[in-house]
Subunit: 228 residues, 2 copies
Amino acid sequence: MAVTQRASDRAYQRLRNEIVEWELRPGSVLGEVEQSTRLGVSRTPLREALARLMADGLVTSQSGRGLVVTDLSLASILEIFEVRQALEEQAARLAARRGDTAVFQQLEIEFAAVNDLLEHDDPARHAYYGLVARLDDAIDAAVDNAYLTAALAILRTHLVRVRRLAVDDPARLSAAAAEHLLIVQAIAARDAELAAHATQVHLHQALRNIQKMAVEVPSMPTPTKGLP
Amino acid sequence: MAVTQRASDRAYQRLRNEIVEWELRPGSVLGEVEQSTRLGVSRTPLREALARLMADGLVTSQSGRGLVVTDLSLASILEIFEVRQALEEQAARLAARRGDTAVFQQLEIEFAAVNDLLEHDDPARHAYYGLVARLDDAIDAAVDNAYLTAALAILRTHLVRVRRLAVDDPARLSAAAAEHLLIVQAIAARDAELAAHATQVHLHQALRNIQKMAVEVPSMPTPTKGLP
DNA sequence: GTCCTGGGTTCTGTATACAGAATGTCGATG
DNA sequence: CATCGACATTCTGTATACAGAACCCAGGAC
């Protein structure tokens, strides 16, 4: 295993993280020399990192202005969810058909006890989101489809970015956990159609919650390059 | 508009074309120096091209051996179709809801008269596949979702590669055109669910045809680096 | 006052040089 | 005859240098 990570990988992961965590705001211009000196790598690996970020859709080539961090409006969140509906429904359906029942039965137990996780003093909800990530991994493993997994991976990156828009309220997290529980139960029971429907329900509720918060918290964008 | 294309773009498109057209067979090793000298560009833009091909899934980093053209087995075709089912169903549904009816009515007329196209002496079926490509474009425009369009674009690239596996027989093309006609009619009539179902039918038949041909023509892979 | 033009600066795109790692081969030894 | 090791060759990854294009600002002309 490569102990020494490549410089292009480091630059990619760091930039990706900064974009996802909103340290680099949408619209920020990513000059090559500026970023390469800041990250301590030369321009060649930095360009490779930027190319990967473009392929992920996190960075856009704004004509003339160079590369900028992709905007994330409510409209683009709707677009992401339209793709998510399609891919996650299919993933849940296929996982129900092919998955290792034991794995999902174990997850079932953990999601049933999720309120314990949420009661802990954990502002970032690491334990909860860790559990969700393990569900994602289990679904990927069950589906065993490289193309689907790759598409979902890109979507999930964008979704972390959405998640950081505002803090989740405990009530929503508890409801989301119940929705996840139903999905896991359906997969464990090998009920493909129920798994698909439960996924649709979950995504519908998740989107509703985002839209509600977008109304309550209408202001989030603050361009990096603003007034002097 | 840039009259002079970038060297990395030229390298990307040429390699992509060669892979899709099976001039570069699956498993072919793509050495950087070898390809850069062959394509007449330096290693830097070539690496950029290879990075994009990796993001597309046309090239895989085989541990140690360097970069190779991604394998395309029947199993991976099944995987592609599982993603296709999800994305194209959603695309057809959304296009039916949002599309410009006039555009799809025009396509309806053309798909109804597709037998005229197929009767021409056109071994590559350029006219027919051109029409299908215009349908794809119309759906993309109607859906108006950058994430969905990007995911579909990658899938379509892989599908062209599948298409080149064997020559389509006229009977299948005629049947496929009828299936497309139903999809277009459903979109033009703004019947989202029928459009979704018709898409599923079309994909089912297309996959069946591929599986049938895979049995009839079992041998297609011939490694580039074989016996001396 | 507005528009055009010229120069300077900065940026991207490409080529090349260099270092480290990996692989394959040849020879030697058990 | 097989296996292990050392060396040579090749390849990837990174840095840097160079050229062309784009942009910005200032100055002048209408």
